[in-house]
């Protein structure tokens, strides 16, 4: 970032061309509603503004705010960007926009009700039937499904922009599963934290009541007769573009974030598959596109849905919000009809105009669009189409001809829209504060007999030149929208309240899938931590003996390196055919054990799986988690990317400081993570699963470490060094020194690491804690002792009956058969417990297949019965 030219951040600000600028009028004077804010920014100065911009990015990153671009290859998360300068609107102007927005919501609610009901709008020709009937978002399977209450459209999103004359125009509607509200709330949280003083002084209207309004709307949508509805948020999963939004909304509403496979139709009702069985669900806030929501009635290839959901909606046993058919309201052709619909349905004029647009299914519209190709924006009729808007001013002649052919072939599938360069607003970038065109998205939810709007929203500005498209996919930056307060700040009487308690019912149930990921979160976090400790111990030893060719030092190092391979399961490693070469120069292998993400057993592999599990249970974790995760990820990336470090490390044959420092940083991160788990997570069922995973992992690790290092007796000097390494890796060296003074022996180490119930690193301690967690997990079961409980009982009895002193006994060839057999049994039992927990609690689904279509008339003629075999 280059230095700012002056300390006055807005000294060189000039509005773009002759369009409308939010901050400055045509005469170059700052508009009144901006002046106070701009004075405050001037006082801060350009340098401070830039510093705070960095602070904003840091906070967003810490909260894990991302927008996933692309899809499932790798990690396409892109950090969310937020401009330090808000989009400012005076109260009166916002009120006008809000009235227009609410009127549109009312109007579209009537349209939705009619399209899936009487279809009078189609029969009367007010809406041309083909416009709706040929849109794939018109789901015939969802015909006649209605929600209780007076509104069918519950959550509504709208994009607006300012035209050159200063008026506001609607660009499009979001009704399928409008996204962006959580980003708006996050932007507000961050901006008000970075500019606390300015924020307070400016008197900005609050966003928080919107969350309460959304909660009330969901409660109101519950099937009739359900008094204490259980509510969930249905998400397509952590790879979705707006995964952050789904988790954030779920966390703010306090309802569980679930995926299709978490829900199941039973006896005509939808319920959540939890660790303690099936529990009914009454309202689903849907973040999955309708077509994917039910593979039985809608798209059969979807694995994101719940078979039978549509039928449950028809029966009225569950309410899906927005309704499964609501995507039809995003039909681009409806925009051209809004004013006639308003007159017809509401008997009044439209308060907020649409950008002029023409549906090509109509001869007049078609000829206008074809005659003006080259100056219009052309949009596919249906948003389900994977295509985006085409700015015909920015495509080649060949592309124009192709587009013309496509429009002529299927005119009813296209809509032309007048090109609009939205009014500009100030944005801070590397060269200072500059004007950029901006588009706003805001939201309304059904409530109080009409709609309740968010007092603000999500602003987006183009990344570069004035007329570039503004979408999140193309790298636009976001803005908080500040609606300046009026006296009537106490609008709380508008927000229905008192329902907060009712919301709790649904949070108790732990979805089986969340339990599974929490369990593996515990296992991978512990695995990463233990592996880091072990490698750190080994690298320290390598440094120590680097210039020693023979003697007890190198001999003990060999033992520990072999154990490292066995404990992590990264064969062949230090026990394979090439072990001799690796002993001579272990750095390459050690480096790989840290950074090789694709190699199971490495630190990077465990951390990657830890992140994946975190993503899934995001809504259950403290926000601070992302602070820790972010730093862990950066350490790994630093080490991985920095090939220079790796080459230097390997070339020198010396364990470089770089790796040591990365290992320390990572250990610190992992310790913080376990600290958060212990200090910031409620001890609910989910925590118990995470704890069980952690205890099982640590128990396996410590048993294997002791078994592989001390299974064979070495000469006294070597064994002494080995024991010391084991105690360091097992985080028990201090205790050992204090308890056994200077000398530690195999026997005392076995005692301390396996049997000592007071040592939080010992096997006995892990089994005790595991028993505590499993007892709580198991309390909900009515059908007698579980396999998990039986296995745990066997393990507890084994430990109780073992004489740990004798485990150090050696046979005639110097082996410790008692120790080896004990460790073998313990490992097998722990693995069996892990499997039993999965079987009993995680309730995995079988694979979903389509039934083979009975196209029986395809079989040979004349036979009264015929068969076909086919692959499921």
């Amino acid at each position: 970032m280059t230095a700012l030219p002056t300390t006055d951040p807005i000294a060189g600000y000039h509005p773009l061309g002759d369009g409308h600028d939010e901050m400055m009028n045509a005469g170059g004077t700052i508009r009144e509603h901006w002046s106070e804010l701009m004075d405050a920014y001037r006082t801060l100065g350009a340098g401070e503004l830039t510093r705070r911009q960095g602070e904003i990015q840091r906070l967003l990153e810490q909260d894990g705010v991302t927008y996933n671009v692309g899809g499932d290859d790798g990690r396409p998360d892109r950090p969310w960007t937020l401009d330090p300068i808000p989009f400012v609107l005076p109260n009166e102007e916002w009120s006008a926009i809000e009235r227009g927005m609410i009127q549109r919501a009312e109007l579209l609610d009537l349209v939705l009700t009619d399209l899936y009901g009487e279809r009078r709008l189609l029969r009367s020709g007010i809406v041309p039937p083909e416009m709706i009937l040929s849109d794939p978002q018109f789901f015939r399977a969802c015909d006649r499904i209605t929600l209780p209450g007076d509104k069918q459209l519950v959550v509504f999103g709208i994009d607006i922009a300012r035209a050159a004359d200063g008026s506001w125009l609607a660009l499009g509607h979001r009704a399928q599963a409008p996204s962006g509200a959580a980003y708006a709330l996050e932007n507000r949280r961050v901006l008000s934290r970075v500019f606390p003083h300015i924020f307070r002084q400016t008197g900005v209207q609050r966003l928080a009541p919107f969350v309460q309004a959304l909660r009330s709307a969901l409660l109101a949508a519950a099937p009739i007769g359900v008094e204490d509805p259980s509510i969930v948020i249905l998400s397509p999963g952590s790879l979705s573009e707006t995964a952050f939004e789904h988790a954030s909304i779920a966390a703010q509403l306090g309802y569980p974030l679930v995926q299709g496979s978490d829900l199941e139709l039973r006896r005509g009702r939808i319920g959540l598959r939890t660790v303690s069985g099936w529990v009914p669900v009454h309202v689903i806030l849907r973040r999955v596109d309708a077509g994917f929501c039910d593979p039985l009635a809608l798209r059969p290839d979807s694995t994101l849905g719940i078979p039978g959901l549509v039928d449950a909606c028809r029966a009225g046993t569950v309410s899906v919000v927005n309704t499964l058919g609501s995507g039809i309201l995003e039909n681009a052709g409806l925009a051209s009809l809004m004013s006639s619909l308003s007159r017809h349905l509401l008997g009044s004029d439209l308060l907020l105009d649409s950008v002029p647009s023409w549906w090509c299914g109509e001869p007049v519209g078609r000829s206008h669009v074809l005659a003006n190709l080259g100056s219009l924006v052309v949009r596919p009729l249906s948003r389900v189409s994977l295509e985006y808007s085409i700015d015909t001013a920015r495509i080649s002649t060949a592309e124009l001809d192709e587009l013309r052919r496509r429009i002529e072939a299927h005119p009813d599938q296209w809509v032309g829209q007048q090109r609009l360069t939205p009014g500009s607003t100030p944005v801070l970038n590397a060269d200072g504060v500059e004007p950029r065109p901006a588009v706003l998205r805001s939201f309304a939810v059904a409530g109080g007999g009409s709609y309740i709007a968010l007092h603000g929203g999500l602003g987006r500005t183009a990344s570069g030149e004035a007329d570039a498209p503004i979408t999140n996919r193309t790298g636009a930056s976001s803005k908080d929208i500040w609606v300046l307060g009026s006296e009537s700040q106490s609008q709380f009487e508008f927000w229905p309240s008192g329902d907060a308690m009712a919301a709790h019912a649904s949070t108790d149930a732990l979805p089986a899938r969340a339990a599974e990921h929490l369990f593996w979160l515990g296992r991978y976090a512990e695995r990463a931590e233990a592996t880091v400790r072990l490698i750190r111990t080994v690298t320290a030893r390598c440094d120590e003996f680097v210039n020693t060719a023979t003697g007890p030092g190198p001999a003990s190092l060999t033992v520990v390196l072999e154990s490292l391979t066995r404990v992590t399961g990264t064969y062949p490693g230090f026990v394979g055919d090439d072990a001799a070469a690796l002993f001579a120069d272990p750095t390459g292998e050690l480096f790989s054990l840290v950074v090789d993400e694709r190699r199971p057993g490495t630190v990077a592999h465990a951390v990657r799986h830890l992140f994946d599990a975190l993503d899934v249970v995001r809504d259950r974790l403290s926000v601070d988690t992302w602070l820790v995760v972010g730093s862990l990820q950066r350490e790994l990336e630093r080490l991985e990317r920095d090939g220079v470090v790796r080459d230097a490390v390997v070339r020198d044959g010396d364990v470089d400081d770089a790796m040591t420092s990365v290992l320390s940083e990572m250990l610190q991160g992992l310790l913080s993570l376990s600290g958060l788990a212990n200090e910031s997570m409620v001890r609910d069922l989910g925590w118990q699963f995470m704890e069980a995973g952690r205890r099982i992992e640590r128990a396996i690790h410590v048993a294997t470490l002791v078994g592989t290092t001390l299974g064979t007796q070495r000469s006294a000097p070597v064994e002494s060094l080995v024991v010391e390494s084991v105690l360091i890796a097992g985080e028990s060296i201090i205790t050992s020194r204090r308890r056994y003074r200077s000398r530690a022996f195999a026997s005392t180490t076995i005692e301390l690491l396996l049997a000592d119930a007071g040592n939080p690193r010992s096997l006995q301690f892990q089994i005790d804690r595991l028993a505590d967690s499993l007892a709580l997990i198991g309390t909900d079961r009515a059908d007698g002792p579980t396999a998990t409980a039986a296995l745990l009982g066997e393990l507890t009895r084994l430990l109780a009956s073992t004489n740990f002193v004798h485990l150090a006994d050696i046979d005639e060839v110097g082996h410790r058969p008692g120790l080896e057999s004990f460790v073998g049994t313990v490992r097998a039992k722990l693995a069996a417990i892990s499997n039993a927990i999965a079987l009993e609690s995680f309730n995995r689904l079988h694979w979903q297949h389509a039934m083979v279509g009975p196209i029986d008339h395809r079989q040979s003629l004349g036979a009264t019965e015929s068969t076909v075999g086919s692959s499921v």
């Binding site: 279809r119 029969r123 009367s124 297949h849 009975p854 008339h857 395809r858 015929s866 086919s870 499921v872």
Partner: protein, 289 residues
């Protein structure tokens, strides 16, 4: 005629299926002049949940969930239908000269006419299909004559071949191969009519198994059959069967009507299983009572 229709679909799997979800459209109704006296659908194992609804096109559809683990699923429907009222002629509406029912000319009040003139999942209008249909529809030709001519030409031009096509074979490929089963014959006719602006629907149903003495056995018995519904205006439809080149009169039983096969499969569903193989056996018997 009064027919007893017995339709059995059986799946055998190589490993247990935990749960099956099925949507069944084998519940004939009082449509196309027929009268349903009795109808039922059963599953073995029996379903843990079932519910009937009338779909967008007016068909009765059953959703059934089978939760008992099973390696064999049998879906059986049986019904008793009086078909004597099914139309055997076009009537006065069909004697009018045919005319395009395209969007601009359509009466929006008549939503069906528009719904069944548009593209659907498996049938897309095309110039090729319009060209194929046009020789039957010279200017001034009556709707009835045009339809019967097109029906006869499809019957003559296309070969019934159960091996030639798959469920997902495109209509354009069927036009090229000139082979297929009754589903393909029906799609060709529906697509040709729609490409000229004539509303047409796809009808799924059954044919009488044993012909009356002296009459030939029809193609497509012993299995579910498909033919075409022609819109005559004023809410009236008539069935035409290009596979057998005749009107779908009293020897036919309508099970469901939609825009194409994908709207009205007799049975579709999902199974949750680790099984890798399934074996499908279907039998249909339509016996005169």
């Amino acid at each position: 005629m009064i027919y007893e229709v017995l339709h059995t679909t059986r799946y055998d799997y190589d490993a247990p299926v935990e749960t099956s979800f099925a949507e069944v459209r084998q519940l004939p109704d009082d449509v196309d002049g027929q009268v349903c006296v009795r109808r039922q659908v059963t599953t073995d194992p029996s379903s843990d949940y079932e519910r009937d609804h009338r779909d967008y096109f007016g068909n009765l559809a059953r959703t059934a969930v089978i939760r008992e683990p099973h390696t064999r699923l049998v879906v059986t429907s049986s019904s008793l239908i009086d078909t004597s009222g099914r139309p055997t002629e076009f009537g006065a509406d069909g004697q009018q000269p045919w005319r395009s029912y395209t969007a601009a000319e359509a009466d929006p009040e008549d939503l069906d006419a528009i719904e069944f003139s548009l593209d659907s999942a498996l049938v897309t209008r095309s110039a090729q299909l319009a060209d194929y249909a046009r020789p039957s529809f010279a200017d001034g030709v009556s709707l009835a004559d045009g339809v019967l001519s097109l029906c006869a030409r499809i019957h003559a031009d296309f070969e019934f071949d159960a091996e030639a096509t798959q469920v997902d074979t495109h209509l354009a490929d069927v036009m090229k191969m000139r082979k297929g089963v009754c589903q393909d014959f029906a799609h060709v006719m529906v697509g040709s009519l729609r490409s000229l602006g004539l509303p047409a629907c796809y009808v799924s149903g059954y044919l009488e198994t044993e012909p009356p003495p002296g009459r030939p056995r029809l193609t497509g018995v012993d299995r579910t059959h498909a033919w075409v519904g022609i819109y005559l205006g004023n809410g009236r439809w008539i069935g035409v069967d290009p596979t057998n080149n005749q009107l779908a009169g009293p020897r036919y039983v309508t099970a469901a009507r939609g825009r194409d096969y994908s709207d009205v499969p007799p049975l579709k569903g999902l199974i949750f299983t680790d099984a890798e193989e399934s074996r499908l056996t279907v039998s249909v018997d339509v016996a005169a009572q």
